[in-house]
């Protein structure tokens, strides 16, 4: 199953997408593709292994996805979610929590509100650490599942024209994904309100590698692109509610707004969505965001198998 491994992932931390080369990312995607049948059939590949999910911040979906991936490979999971934090933490710092929990588990998946938390955890833990989202910063497994979805839908990533729409400043998934995409030969369109533009440090890095066009409206973008990656715009980001209402409306995707879309347009969304994609899009062939959720499990299975050194 994992034969042909030229890149060794055993024991490795997954902290930032920037820690990975194109070759390594492609290897993860290939492994995911090989492992996908097991997501239906199940496997005993990781029997006896334990994943600890340490979620210092709520994110039911990501946590369930990791746990499901581990179970599908025959492993088991322990952990806590934000609700139980009061009893778990008692003022203990992350470094101590990690050095305690590592005795209970073979791999840790960590979500934390502070930026750089996963990197710090990895420095203290002897077992590998997977960043399940830290601060407004990065979410590498989401980027990998997004890439996997694009590759699966389109056959390859090179050559794609991709638009990101929505909150590109605070949306943590778009930062990791932008970095990852800049390793491929793609064209990127960044559509956001002025106040929610892609962060400067991300822009600087990706602009050196791929063509990037920044826009404040969706005008004429939809007919151009192969992939439309939509993100949520949060009300809290706007001091003025009227401004929020205006912005929100102008980025809303519905069946009508897709009338000039390419036939094989793929629409993705990291979920949860609020109303940036209308329900009438769900039944179009463009909508692939629920497949994305499935692919998330597949990619996390691949990562767990790789870093725990599973052999078939």
């Amino acid at each position: 199953m994992l034969a042909g491994v030229s890149v060794n992932f055993e024991g490795r931390d997954i902290i930032s997408i920037k820690d990975f080369s194109l070759e390594e990312i492609n290897h993860i995607l290939k492994t995911a593709s090989n492992i996908e049948p097991l997501a239906t059939k199940g496997s005993e590949m990781l029997r006896g292994k334990i994943l600890a999910t340490l979620f210092f911040e709520p994110s039911t979906r990501t946590r369930l996805s990791f746990e499901s991936a581990m179970h599908k490979l025959g492993g088991s999971t322990i952990g806590f979610a934000e609700a139980e934090m009061a009893s778990v933490k008692k003022g203990e710092n992350l470094a101590d929590t990690v050095r305690t929990v590592e005795s209970y588990a073979d791999v840790l998946a960590i979500r934390h509100p502070l930026e750089g938390a996963a990197r710090l955890a990895a420095e203290f833990a002897k077992v590998p650490v997977i960043n399940a989202g830290s601060g407004a910063e990065e979410h590498p497994t989401q980027a990998l599942l997004d890439l996997y979805t694009m590759k699966k839908e389109k056959g390859k990533i090179d050559g794609l024209k991709i638009a990101f729409v929505g909150d590109l400043r605070y949306g943590r998934t778009v930062h990791s994904l932008a970095y990852a995409l800049s390793l491929y030969k793609v064209e990127l369109y960044l559509v956001s309100p002025k106040t929610l533009k892609m962060r400067r440090e991300v822009l600087q890095t990706i602009k050196e590698k791929i063509p990037v066009v920044e826009k404040t409206t969706l005008d004429k973008i939809i007919p151009l692109v192969d992939v439309l990656y939509v993100t949520r715009i949060q009300k809290e980001r706007f001091p003025d509610p009227a401004e929020y209402a205006k912005v929100k409306g102008s980025y809303r995707i519905d069946a009508q707004s897709l009338s000039e879309a390419k036939k094989d347009l793929t629409i993705l969304h990291p979920l949860p969505r609020v109303d940036e994609i209308a329900p009438d899009v769900d039944n179009t062939p463009y909508a692939r965001y629920f497949q994305q959720v499935w692919n998330g499990i597949v990619v996390r299975m691949a990562l767990l198998a790789l870093i725990l050194g599973a052999r078939k």
Partner: protein, 175 residues
Amino acid sequence: MRIKVFYLCLVYKRFWLEVSCVSERELRVSKIKDGTVIDHITGGHALDVVKILGITGHEKRPITVAIHVPSKRLKTKDIVKIEGRELNPQEVHKIALLAPHATINIIRDYKVVKKQEVKLPSVIDNIIKCVNPACISNSDEPVRAKFYLESEEPLVLKCHYCGCIIEKKDVLEQF
């Protein structure tokens, strides 16, 4: 010819001392016996260097500060001379953040006995804090802030933990 050059040098040196440490003709700053001369400080940053070294002016020792004097190597430079004090490596690194071309001269018995060009290490450890309040290095963890040197001039540092970028103005605010 040789004599003439020698003479010119003397004149030059003298002129030099005048502009850097002496208010023309009237006052003459005496040489340091033992201490440190920080030379080739990026023009305009002498007072920041003084601040980094925690010099308040209440010390009972002579300190000379020269700002924007002409320099061969730099367009203009600043100089700080401190009697009776030598710098520790931590202080030298802090100076390097603001004045990457500075030279530290150790003076003993009126003579330069050691000359060291400051050098910023590629990893800067425990000298400054991350400016990102949401960075894990600013929370209650047993770690010290750590940065990678991306560029010396203009100064660009990148936080090891949160990846955030720090510039000269951010560094100045911390000293």
